[in-house]
């Protein structure tokens, strides 16, 4: 019985370890993702925010999009290793119907 118990624990560790490692790696990737903060003019309503979320969300490089209406900012998290130029950010803001004021980059 002790042999079975030891074998079971060993098997469980073998199965769980890679999963646990993968989760750690994912967390690592997310924390290393580059965030772009685009300050825009004209984004005064919830629907405006939805427009930029839709447009930025279609970009391959974009992991997630968040909007701060109070600050007039679009916060874009990029996928690991992905990049997006300031010019492209400006195009996407324009395509959404708003005007880009500035772009800040933040690498966590």
């Amino acid at each position: 019985m002790t042999v079975f118990k030891s074998a079971f624990i060993a098997a469980a560790l073998v199965v769980a370890a890679p999963v646990s490692f993968a989760e750690s790696a994912e967390t690592e990737q997310a924390s290393n993702a580059t965030q772009i903060i685009a300050k825009v003019n004209g984004m005064v309503c919830d629907f405006c925010a939805r427009a930029v979320t839709k447009v930025f969300g279609k970009e391959d490089a974009v992991e997630s999009v968040d909007v701060d209406l109070d600050a007039g900012e679009i916060r874009v998290a990029l996928k690991n290793g992905a990049t997006i130029s300031d010019e492209r950010v400006g195009e996407l803001v324009k395509k959404s119907g708003y005007d880009l004021v500035s772009v800040l980059r933040d690498t966590a």
Partner: protein, 213 residues
């Protein structure tokens, strides 16, 4: 077709198309919009697709109970100009419709069309809008305009339920009551907008809704 059947058909159409605001006549690129307006004088339904944030194409149907006619056709909406500032947005729109119309009780249909110009200005607290529309129905001409003022009693964050208190003043020279004022409340949540109002002069309710997909 009775008013109830008309409302029901449009509601079923919306449900069929999807469960998925803002009253602007254009959406975000590749966005679909379904909107319906009812105010006692007329009921309308408009479904449109926006290839860009400046244009939308769609179909428009209106039953005008005040002036006894109905119109069905295609509609093009154009954002002529947008002014963006750090705390406001203003828009100027042009709309064009072409189709056919007939008077109630008359089976003859006429080629018909309309032109519409509208403008709005909005901050997170205040809202102003104006719209004027002129119809050529073939057998008659029609004109109406309205202005609207709104205030948000609280400023919600992105994703919250947004509420606006508004008053709309309508002018329809052909109507039995040419000038009316309608206090209304607007709820805007996710991609859905609902407006409920009441017009004391005519003892009629307003019910507008918009869904963006």
């Amino acid at each position: 077709m009775s008013r109830f059947c008309y409302f029901l058909c449009v509601a079923l159409l919306a449900l069929f198309l999807g469960q998925t605001a803002d009253a602007r006549p254009v959406s975000y690129p590749e966005g679909w919009t379904i909107m319906q307006h009812n105010n006692g004088d007329f009921s309308s339904a408009h479904v449109h697709y926006s290839p860009t944030f400046q244009d939308s194409f769609g179909i428009y149907s209106e039953r005008n109970w005040a002036n006894d006619w109905q119109f069905t056709g295609v509609q093009y909406n154009r954002l002529v100009k947008r002014w963006n500032t750090s705390d406001s947005q203003a828009n100027l729109y042009f709309k064009l419709g072409a189709g056919q119309a007939d008077a109630f009780g008359d089976s003859d249909e006429s080629l018909a069309g309309f032109v519409d110009i509208s403008a709005d200005w909005e901050t997170r607290r205040w809202f102003l809008a104006y719209d004027a529309r002129a119809y050529d129905l073939g057998f008659d001409q029609d004109f109406r305009q309205f202005a609207r003022l709104g205030v948000a009693p609280y400023i919600g964050d992105y994703g919250d339920l947004h509420t606006w208190l508004m008053v709309q003043v309508d002018h329809d020279p052909e109507s039995d009551t040419p000038v009316t004022a309608t206090p209304l409340i607007r709820f805007f949540y996710d991609v859905q907008l609902l407006e409920i109002g009441y017009t004391p002069e005519t003892d009629r309710f307003m019910l507008n809704w918009i869904i963006r997909l």
